[in-house]
């Protein structure tokens, strides 16, 4: 049996740009995004997979990027908060978060936005209960979620 690979070259598409990098086999996807690709919008808020600040969308599926190794994302297409807007224009979700004061410190916001995007991609007209379920894996310590739920609801209404 050959020795386990400690390093690997991976190719990942992030927000439409393809990156090829050598990564340590143990490197978490979130650290790959933040430290290797300098996409620092994705945040780290815990070390147990509870907080959701690092949520990204990998091949259409919402994931916590601290719970995945970078090498597992080899060949994948990843969406992060940096890809939400278009040419400097905010997406309707981003706009709604601002209008409804759905963020205070802004640390959970990127992950929260990605969870909300994943929800609305699947379910464009969610109920309040469905919105709450969709963001239950994202912790916010500032807002009590009140305005986040409102913002997601408003963004859904705006686009339907």
């Amino acid at each position: 049996m050959s020795a386990p690979v400690a390093q690997k070259t991976i190719s990942v598409e992030v927000n439409g740009t393809t990156y090829e990098r050598d990564v340590e086999a143990r490197r978490l996807l979130v650290h790959f995004l933040r430290d290797d690709l300098d996409l620092t919008g994705t945040h780290v808020g815990c070390d147990t997979g509870n907080c959701g600040a690092c949520s990204v969308i990998v091949d259409g599926t919402l994931l916590k990027s601290c719970m995945m190794l970078a090498i597992q994302a080899d060949g994948a297409s990843i969406e992060t908060v940096e890809g939400l807007g278009t040419d400097g224009e905010l997406s309707s979700l981003q706009q709604a978060f601002s209008e409804h004061h759905a963020l205070q410190c802004g640390y959970c916001t990127p992950g929260m936005l990605m969870s909300a995007k994943a929800l609305l991609d699947e379910n464009p007209e969610p109920t309040e209960g469905e919105i709450r379920r969709a963001i239950q894996g994202n912790i916010c310590r500032c807002t009590g979620y009140v305005n986040i739920v409102e913002a997601i609801s408003a963004a859904a209404e705006a686009s339907t």
Partner: protein
């Protein structure tokens, strides 16, 4: 709690007074655009060439002697840059300044453990390597030999003769003790019809656990001997006072830089031990070093809220429910090192009688050290513990005397026409209308129909309870209160700085001394500036964050203690008023020597009031002063258009003998009402209705105020229902991460109904009051509602601040235990 589908409602119960301009309106937050795009800059986003990552080797024992430390194997690893040990720290630094009198003042607190460890997670060695992962690997190779000692976990046993001593230098686990005696306790006992005795109440340990952990990137400039810290310290002024003497340098050698901070809530005030370790490493290794705290480390070893016991409380009451006074013995547990303490031993006195007209108060206050995480200010710091106590007292008294908790409150609240109200210890409550706030909150939850709902719940096998939490959010500290703890401390008053300038192309630029963490300072500062200069907030640039190099800060600069609306915006207002005057001065001179009063500022122009055609754009004024000043008459050449203002609130040094004086400038109110249903079979409960009514005087940005109310309430509900830092007998923390320490998620939050009134502060330039920390009311309201709900199952007394279902089940299954804590003596 379970999912709730009902929409959250915001009920405006009183029309806001119409004020011209942007103050009082919900303009879009200036911070949002970068934050929703992932373009904020948090400390962990900052990188430097060749930087090393710091990992701390931490103590596995709550109390142990350090027999030996061997870092040699770690240093052999490739790309490990270096280490730092406690022995090095003891040589290179002096212990941190302590605020207490003896014995607390004798405690030696260093950046790393020196000689022994005193809590699980205490940093013992620091390792620096090329990557985060490698630093962790290397840390595992550090060999530390410990000799475990008996740990001290229960604060109540800290002063027993057989208790293990944490700090041999102090010779005792006592940090600070003092007697607070105001009014005439013995006299009020003689006057009382009833004495209600409460054996013990306990306020649990928890913390606001900001989502972004602590950290810094530190660079050392060998040529100047200066450190730059890109960090998330929320109170750099005090941070420098701790760090500079320890590092044996002047405060100017420490440059703090922040931009975006992922929440702080007081938990990022006591970062100096970690930052000093990083400063030493940056100097020793001659490279930038970066430390990002892990979540488990944040929970285990950084900043818990103060745990407090209230023993042998006595409350003197008239038969009609008039409260005459109370007496209690408070034991405060500050964990292994005091750090910001013993300030918590006095901060509570800002709200000594709570919302009530109590005149006779006696508190024996003791603070002790235990083998647990050090504490740090935490949203509602020290006042929350005390207000929880006063609210528990109100409800227990009402409960035991068969009185209506609503009526007892209204009978004893300070009345609307009694403001400004002086408390027995000399604090001046500026304005408010507590009874009206309570009425609004009760209306919001439909109190009139509550008995029907109680019956309905009963028919479903549930016990319904209603509880009230009355909270004062005292803001803008008079640091002179520290002299009530230690008369030799030379701290008093308060200050904050802002600089507003008109630049060469007409840009209006604001620099704050504060250190915002989500409170929207850029936005509200822009509102104030825009109104004063007759422009829009979009035309105002407010620099994000804090930088020592801006020279726009003072000794108490920071963001803490509910004060930005007063101190921060007071400084902004002072600075922009000066700038407006200077713009008028220049315009008057340039427009032909007219008096300044003839000039108005409007739409980015300085115009003659009598002839608006005669106008100079701000750009012209900025250009003349900055780059064309030879055209100016001699008498206006001292104008700089760069106005720095230091706001100083009108405080006096308190009377240290009587422990008497005004300790805070403003008092915002939050009155909460909670309705919950308990399953008597399991102790599980659900909050089914909730109202929070806020009064923070004039609201600069109502949406931001309401956001603070929501967030503070969520933190309180978390603390009331789940969040507690529980230790086992060996001093191991049982809730060291978000897996074990359950903070509210979106499905946990009940619908929150909000209302407000505005009682402008007569003591502040904008009539505003600091707010944001009043949410502790949620803890009081849940405790009160539980006690109300459990009346039919043996009348237990809620005596803990955190009541997860298992604790409620204990109250239900053994009501006698808690009943035994209370006795009523009729006189």
């Amino acid at each position: 709690m379970t999912e709730t589908a009902a929409p959250t409602s915001a009920i405006v119960v009183e029309e806001q007074e119409t004020r011209p301009g942007f103050i009082g309106t919900n303009i879009p937050r200036k911070e949002d655009r970068r934050l929703v795009q992932g373009e904020g800059v948090f400390f962990d986003d900052v990188k430097r060439h060749g930087m090393g990552f710091v990992h701390f080797v931490r103590a596995p024992y709550a109390h142990a002697k350090i027999v030996s430390v061997d870092v040699s194997r770690a240093l052999e690893l490739k790309d490990v840059y270096g280490t730092l040990t406690g022995d090095e720290v003891a040589i290179l630094t002096d212990p941190f300044f302590e605020m207490s009198v003896p014995p607390g003042s004798e405690i030696k607190d260093y950046a790393l453990a020196v000689g022994k460890t005193r809590f699980v997670g205490e940093p013992v060695v620091a390792v620096v390597a090329a990557t985060r992962e490698l630093a962790r690997d290397a840390a595992e190779l550090v060999e530390v030999e410990y000799e475990p000692l008996e740990p001290l976990v229960d604060a109540r046993a800290a002063l027993e003769p057989e208790a293990p001593i944490l700090h041999e230098d102090a010779g005792s686990n006592l940090v600070w003790e003092g007697v607070f005696d105001w009014g005439d306790w013995e006299g009020c006992v003689a006057e009382a019809d009833r004495i209600v005795r409460i054996k013990e109440l306990h306020f649990d340990r928890f913390s606001s656990t900001p989502l972004e952990c602590s950290g810094c990137l530190v660079e050392f400039n060998r040529g100047t001997g200066q450190w730059t810290m890109y960090c998330n310290h929320q109170m750099p002024g005090i941070g420098a006072i701790w760090m500079a003497p320890a590092l044996r340098v002047g405060t100017d050698k420490l440059r703090f830089v922040t931009q975006d901070i992922g929440g702080a809530f007081g938990n990022k005030i006591c970062l100096h031990p970690y930052f000093v370790a990083c400063c030493l490493l940056a100097r020793k290794l001659n490279r930038p070093v970066q430390w990002t705290e892990w979540r488990t480390d944040q929970h285990t070893a950084n900043a818990h809220g103060n745990e407090r016991w209230f023993e042998d409380t006595e409350v003197a009451v008239k038969a009609d429910g008039t409260l005459l006074g109370f007496k209690t013995s408070a034991i405060d547990d500050c964990g292994a090192f005091p750090r910001y303490e013993p300030l918590g031993c006095i901060i509570w006195a800002q709200v000594t009688p709570g919302c009530y007209r109590w005149q006779n108060i006696h508190v024996d206050f003791t603070q002790v050290a235990t083998n647990k995480s050090p504490v740090s200010p935490n949203r509602g710091y020290s006042r929350m513990q005390h207000l929880w106590f006063t609210e528990r007292v109100i409800d227990i008294v009402a409960h035991e005397l068969g009185l209506d908790p609503v009526e007892v409150r209204k009978r004893n609240y300070v009345k609307e026409d009694e403001f400004p109200w002086t408390t027995p210890n000399g604090c001046i409550y500026d304005s408010g209308d507590y009874a009206r706030c309570l009425d609004i909150a009760l209306e919001l939850i439909g109190y009139d129909g509550i008995e029907e709902r109680r019956e309905d719940a009963e028919n479903r096998g549930k016990l319904l309870g209603v509880g009230i939490g009355s909270t004062l959010d005292s803001g803008t500290n008079n640091f002179g209160q520290s002299m009530l703890l230690n008369p030799d401390l030379q701290f008093s008053g308060n200050n904050e700085v802002a600089t507003v300038k008109l630049d060469i192309f007409g840009e209006v630029v604001v620099t704050l001394g504060t250190v915002p963490q989500g409170q929207g300072h850029e936005t509200t500062a822009a509102q104030v500036v825009a109104d004063a200069l007759g422009i829009t907030p979009d035309e105002v640039t407010v620099r994000p964050g804090h930088d020592t190099y801006w020279n726009s800060h003072a000794g108490f600069s920071g963001t803490y203690a509910s004060q930005f609306a007063v101190t921060g915006l007071g400084a902004v207002k002072g600075a922009v008023d000066q700038l407006a005057g200077e713009i008028r001065t220049i315009a008057a001179a340039v427009l032909g020597g007219v008096p300044e009063e003839a000039v108005v500022l409007e739409g980015g122009f300085a115009k003659l009031r009598a002839n608006p055609e005669a106008a100079i754009p701000f750009m012209g004024i900025g250009a003349i002063v900055n780059a064309n000043n030879a055209v100016l008459p001699e008498e206006v050449r001292d104008v700089t258009l760069n106005c720095r203002y230091v706001y100083v609130p009108p405080f006096e040094v308190p009377d240290t003998e009587r422990k008497y004086g005004n300790l805070t400038l403003t008092y915002a109110t939050q009155i909460h009402v909670c309705v919950l249903e308990v399953d008597p079979e399991t102790g599980a409960y659900e909050i089914v209705d909730y109202a929070a009514v806020d009064d923070c005087g004039n609201r600069i940005h109502p949406q931001i105020v309401e956001g603070q109310v929501h967030g503070a309430t969520a933190q309180a509900l978390g603390a009331a229902t789940h969040e507690t830092f529980t230790y086992d007998e060996q001093g191991n923390l049982l809730t060291p991460n978000f897996y074990d320490y359950h903070v509210p998620h979106a499905l946990d939050m009940p619908p929150i109904k909000t209302g407000y009134i505005e009682s402008p502060s007569p003591f502040t330039s904008l009539g505003a009051k600091g707010m944001g920390e009043g949410g502790g009311a949620g803890i009081h309201a849940v405790c009160a509602a539980l006690q109300d709900a459990l009346r039919p199952v043996g009348n237990p007394i809620v005596h803990e601040s955190c009541n997860p279902p298992h604790r409620v089940w204990e109250l239900i299954s053994n009501p006698e235990e808690s009943r035994g804590r209370v006795a009523v003596e009729s006189r």
